[in-house]
Amino acid sequence: MREISVKVNGMVRKRMIKDNELLLDFLRERVEVRSVKAACWRGECGLCTVMLDGHLVKSCLVLAVEADGREVKTVEGITSDGELAPIQKAFVSHGAAQCGFCTPAWVLATYELLKANPHPSDADLVEATSGLVCRCGTYNQIREAVAEVSLATKGRHQPRESLARA
């Protein structure tokens, strides 16, 4: 066992871990951030996606010990004032969550995409989220939610005329 110190959503968390522990287990079991989902365990579904030092990673493919001294952000960390981010509101208004299991990962990934690229094309969106799976198949609703946020910041008035048809 060794102690690691990881900044999770702005708070420094010190925990004892084993060298063979995954970042996914550290977050879910040791820090109890349960929005990070454990599903395929092999880097295919992307539902354990978190930000590690500013980049999206699949936490089932990262060792917990690798995060020592670094910063992790999950969906809880995207806003700090209790308000939902525009993309979260758009997920709600477009029904982009069905069972909701994959939603934290999709919100985080699309939030980061819109931050880096406020007006993503359809191809940009597909590429950026190609590592994520939604088994309810809400891809079109997610696409509309992203389009709404993109168009809102462009100052247009017809969010439905979206990149969904681009």
Partner: protein
């Protein structure tokens, strides 16, 4: 705690994070085949979950500064350190012009999150028959730099991969990087078919050198057999020019002459069909460029 169920846990190991090449070599000398090197960990962590590998020591090379080097010397070539990730390589832009075949192969590996972690050298050392970097590296005549207790040596990528999950590397040796000489007046491209799988069912890398009278073609197929396969017949068909006629002939020969295997991903008959399709696709694209 949910730890304990199969495929979701890793075997016990001691984790090391050296910061210099000397330290890595020291650890390898000490632990030999009890140790595994980890770049992005994408392959190693998956192998460990499946218990295909249970190293007592995992040596993370991400912080080794000598291995982070990515050097592009125009007129000479590229030197890619073992800890350089696929994203770093793609975003640097060094591949785009002269190493198109490698750019096209790497840009479609898995997804952006995996590419942010995975390294070129890790991809190569896995030596899984269905990965995409080896065919591209072979047509580029890339070599693998190896260092160990006996000193340094350099091996062409085609010889480095000896078979499925079998590479030319001693227990105390490590791959420090990949080197590629800058191709002269050449055109190259990569094509693959995955059928939605994480792996390719068939891939092809093509390099056409059109320097004066010395026209040359190099064509290597991946994912259809235990190691990448070069096809002299297809090369012969296109070396004097890529035309609708030569494309038809090359596609025919690829399907007929390149030996394909049946495995968990596809049958050999299906792969032979795919060879015709991807050969046609890649050459049509090269013809129109």
């Amino acid at each position: 705690m949910s730890f304990g169920s199969p495929y979701t846990t890793l075997p016990d190991f001691e984790y090391h994070r050296p910061t210099s090449l000397d330290e890595v070599l020291g650890l390898l000398k000490q632990y030999g085949d009890e140790a595994k090197l980890m770049g992005g960990g994408v392959g190693l962590i998956a192998f460990m979950k499946e218990r295909l590998m249970s190293p007592a020591h995992v040596i993370d090379v991400k912080e080794v500064k000598e291995l982070k080097l990515l050097d592009n010397t125009p007129g000479k070539g590229l030197s890619i350190g073992a800890a350089v990730t696929l994203s770093e390589l793609l975003e640097s832009g060094v591949l785009r012009k002269d190493y198109t075949v490698l750019h096209e192969a790497l840009a479609r590996v898995a997804d952006p999150m995996i590419r942010r972690r995975a390294t070129l050298v890790g991809n190569l050392c896995e030596a899984i028959p269905w990965v995409d970097s080896p065919p591209a590296l072979i047509v580029l005549d890339a070599t693998v730099g190896i260092e160990g207790p006996e000193g340094k040596r350099r091996v062409p990528v085609g010889d480095f991969i000896r078979g499925p999950v079998d590479i030319d590397l001693g227990p105390s040796e490590m791959v420090t990087g990949v080197e590629i000489s800058q191709p002269k007046s050449a055109q190259s491209a990569f094509e693959k078919f995955t059928g939605g799988s994480e792996f390719s069912l068939a891939s092809v890398a093509v390099m056409l050198s059109n320097g004066g009278r010395n026209r040359k073609a190099k064509v290597v197929y991946g994912s259809v057999n235990s190691t990448p396969i070069r096809s002299a017949e297809v090369e012969e068909a296109i070396k004097d020019g890529v035309t609708p006629g030569s494309i038809r002939k090359a596609a025919e020969l690829a399907s007929e002459k390149v030996e394909c295997v049946d495995d968990v991903l596809a049958t050999s008959a299906y792969r032979k069909h795919l060879l015709r399709v991807i050969t046609t696709k890649v050459l049509r694209r090269m013809m129109s460029q």
